[in-house]
């Protein structure tokens, strides 16, 4: 790919400004924990199961200590104390926290060092499990190979995990590289992870550990048959972001959509809550080797894709800075963007190319996630399929990494099996026909594409300055992204945010942060 002539000084300044923004966010994050972070700690220690109503044990345990105003010490504190009091397993310890006759006030008893000591072997076991899953994934990927990019990423969304698995196989058989199981509508708003295999979702299928396993097993089997590693995706977002990150890690998912901004802007989740959750989940993801996909593409469904193109780039720089602070390697940062400009605009393709290549170039080591037209799709499936054709072309011509294939029925329904087939076959045609197009093109330095890329970068640079000055929380409240305003203390889940006390204990986080 021949680089667009852009000002590298400006790019450096963008990074510096984004770094300032991330610092600001971390001034909050580093002092807080959340119910979902604490539940993840329990999960990492092997706590599992749900009660008859389907409420997971981790929720019951954590909620009890939240209500008792004790969570500022970290659930690990109480877990350790339960162990020292004689619980034989972590499960038993957690059950005691949940159902024990009295809440452990945390007063008196073992010292912090003793607690840490009691937890130590369990902490080790937790990471052995995590690292084991990572190793298995890496071996499988190595053995079978992941194929050339752009990777063909498709979604399944039947609501029934067994149908999902069957359709995932079929998609793989016709050439899909990556399968994402879309979640049931509004799962992100519920503050627990449902339990077990599920067969009744709306517009998607519940994300549960068992469902992850079912799809992983299907893809492993199919991948072995096809001699090609198949990547699995789900959503680490919403109120259970860190827990899903953990489940994805141990169930060997390959990618998760993980972006606090999506929850804030499109699900009205409280900014503080989900930014804290995001940090912890990204730490987990960093350790597990999973690739995240960010959600900047979504901004262009509510904001105009021409006028607000720079907000995508601004947000990507910030996401990069936040991701780096959570230990993510560049290669794990699948920054999202989209082919979302109104198709009736003259030269829309030029603007799309400018943006796609700019993003590719600004984030060279990142596995960029390229999203198709959605809002401007129409019920005329033939027309929509053609739109996706140009989208695929831009994808291969600008060397995008992860390409979510557009569906000709986007404006109608979640994809049917045949829609996915047509999309994959169509992408294969375009990717093959234009395989080395990227090496052929040099954009006219006086042309519209170069000018547009420069303009978008300049606007992002400017906006990053503003956000750095006011801080991320204020920018989000002002509607800087997606034309949506979200006040710092609004939205769902704020009650689950707790200031860490001076005696806050979280050995899992410590290891993730490399502190122990």
């Amino acid at each position: 790919m021949y680089p667009l002539p852009i000002d590298s000084k400006l790019v450096d300044e963008c990074r510096a400004r984004a770094s300032q923004v991330a610092d600001g966010v971390h001034r909050f994050i580093d002092l807080h924990t959340t119910v979902s972070i604490e539940r993840t700690v329990l999960r990492a220690y092997g706590v599992d199961g749900a009660d008859a109503e389907g409420v997971p044990l981790v929720n019951t345990s954590v909620d009890r200590y939240l209500k008792s105003d004790l969570l500022s010490r970290g659930i690990a504190t109480f877990l350790g104390r339960a162990l020292l009091r004689g619980a034989k397993t972590m499960q038993e310890a957690a059950e005691e926290l949940a159902y024990g006759a009295a809440v452990d006030s945390g007063e008196s008893g073992p010292s912090a060092a003793e607690i840490v000591g009691a937890l130590a072997p369990h902490t080790e076991a937790a990471f052995a499990k995590l690292d084991g899953a990572k190793k298995k994934r890496e071996e499988d990927r190595e053995r079978l190979g992941v194929g050339r990019t752009p990777w063909k990423y498709v979604i399944v969304a039947t609501g029934n995990i067994y149908d999902d698995a069957e359709q995932a196989r079929a998609a793989a058989q016709v050439g899909a590289d990556i399968i994402a199981v879309i979640r049931s509508t509004a799962q992100s708003l519920i503050d627990y992870v449902p339990y077990g295999a599920t067969t009744e979702g709306y517009g998607g299928t519940w994300a549960t550990q068992e469902n992850f396993r079912i799809v992983r097993a299907a893809l492993d089997e199919e991948g072995a048959r096809l001699g090609r590693y198949l990547q699995q995706v789900n959503y680490s977002s919403g109120l259970c972001m860190p827990e899903i990150a953990y489940l994805a890690a141990v169930e060997r998912l390959d990618m998760v959509l993980n972006d606090a901004m999506y929850g804030i802007l499109f699900r009205d989740i409280n900014p503080r809550r989900t930014l804290c959750d995001q940090y912890f989940s990204r730490r987990m993801i960093a350790r597990s080797g999973i690739v995240i996909n960010t959600g900047e593409d979504n901004y262009l469904t509510t904001a105009d894709a021409v006028e607000k193109a720079h907000t995508v780039v601004t947000s990507q720089f910030i996401n990069e800075a936040l991701g780096r602070r959570a230990g993510l390697r560049y290669e794990q940062l699948g920054l999202g963007h989209a082919f979302e400009i109104d198709k009736s605009i003259e030269d829309s393709l030029l603007l799309e190319i400018a943006q796609a290549q700019l993003v590719r170039q600004l984030f060279p080591r990142h596995p960029i996630k390229w999203m198709p037209a959605t809002k401007h799709k129409a019920g005329d499936i033939f027309w929509s399929h053609r739109v996706d054709g140009l989208y695929d072309l831009v994808g291969v011509a600008t060397e995008q990494s992860i390409e979510l294939l557009g569906m000709m029925t986007e404006s109608i329904h979640t994809p049917l099996l045949q829609d996915r087939f047509c999309a994959i076959k169509g992408a294969d045609y375009v990717f093959t026909a234009a395989r080395h197009l990227a090496d052929e093109i040099r954009w006219n330095p006086e042309g519209k594409i170069v000018a547009r890329a420069r303009q978008v970068l300049a606007d992002a640079h400017q906006q990053l300055g503003e956000v750095a000055a006011e801080g991320m929380f204020s920018a989000v409240a002002r509607g800087a992204f997606a034309d949506v305003k979200r006040p710092e203390t609004g939205g769902r889940g704020l009650a689950g945010v707790v200031e860490r006390g001076p005696d806050y204990l979280n050995p899992i986080l410590d290891v993730l942060e490399g502190k122990s």
């Binding site: 998609a171 708003l189 019920g379 099996l417 045949q418 087939f421």
Partner: protein, 238 residues
């Protein structure tokens, strides 16, 4: 009487595509043909059989349908809306109602798709047509997405709204139908059904909205001025 038109008048040509859960084979192709014949189609030509997975065959078919429809008998309830523009609407409210019209809108249930209701309510509007917020004689409240039916009715009461505007985009398993019907039921129960109820979304049409107990339904491409015109006209007629 009208028939499908492919290459010539009344030739009845239609195109189909579908998947059968069997591997590609001559028998699969024959199954596709029989499938179409079972739908009463004639001259079935299976243009392609594609392997959409080891156990799935995808077909594209052209065939002839002998179906004829008596077009003259078709009557469709359509929203009748005066052709007023921004200025006229404000003038009519001023003259004939004499006070600001209050509307409350939301995307209800678990639906988070605000773009549609925003297009109708927010300043910016849709396709160059200003949203209801921009009308000096309308007070528009946009409650956003994922709004409870009960919460919506409560807020409408507080504001003494003239009209409630509901957007439903998610239609998976008829979620939108259940959710919309439930709102109207609740309104009846709470004695709030005297307000105007408008329903909108990509799979909504006037017919469906009326069946669900709304006053009007608005589908894809709706412009804010049409919605405002409908509301004002209906308020005057009441």
């Amino acid at each position: 009487m009208i028939r499908a038109y492919g290459d010539r008048k009344d030739d009845g040509r239609v195109q189909l595509s579908f998947t059968l859960p069997v591997a590609v084979s001559g028998r699969a192709k024959e199954a596709a043909r029989l499938f179409c014949e079972a739908l009463g189609l004639k001259d079935v030509a299976v243009a392609t059989v594609e392997s959409a997975g080891s156990e799935f065959s995808f077909f594209v078919v052209y065939a002839r349908a002998d179906v004829a429809i008596d077009f003259s008998k078709i009557v469709v309830p359509e929203v009748v809306v005066p052709e007023w523009d921004f200025k006229e609407i404000n003038k009519v409210i001023e003259k004939k109602i004499g006070r600001k019209v209050v509307v409350v809108g939301a995307c209800t249930g678990s639906d988070a798709h605000t773009v549609g209701i925003d297009a109708i309510l927010n300043m910016k509007g849709y396709a160059g047509d200003k949203g209801l917020e921009a009308y000096p004689w309308i007070d528009a409240y946009n409650l956003g997405a994922q709004v409870d039916n009960a919460a919506l009715l409560t807020r409408a009461k507080e504001l003494s709204a003239d009209a409630i505007l509901v957007s439903q985009i998610m239609t998976q398993r008829d979620l939108h139908i259940e959710n919309s019907r439930q709102l109207v039921d609740l309104a009846h129960k709470q004695g709030q059904r005297k307000m105007l109820f408008l329903l909108g979304g990509p799979r909504i049409d006037h017919k469906l909205a009326r069946e669900l107990g709304f006053d009007a339904g608005f589908g894809p491409g709706t412009r804010p001025s049409q919605v405002a015109s409908f509301i004002v006209d209906a308020l005057i007629k009441k």
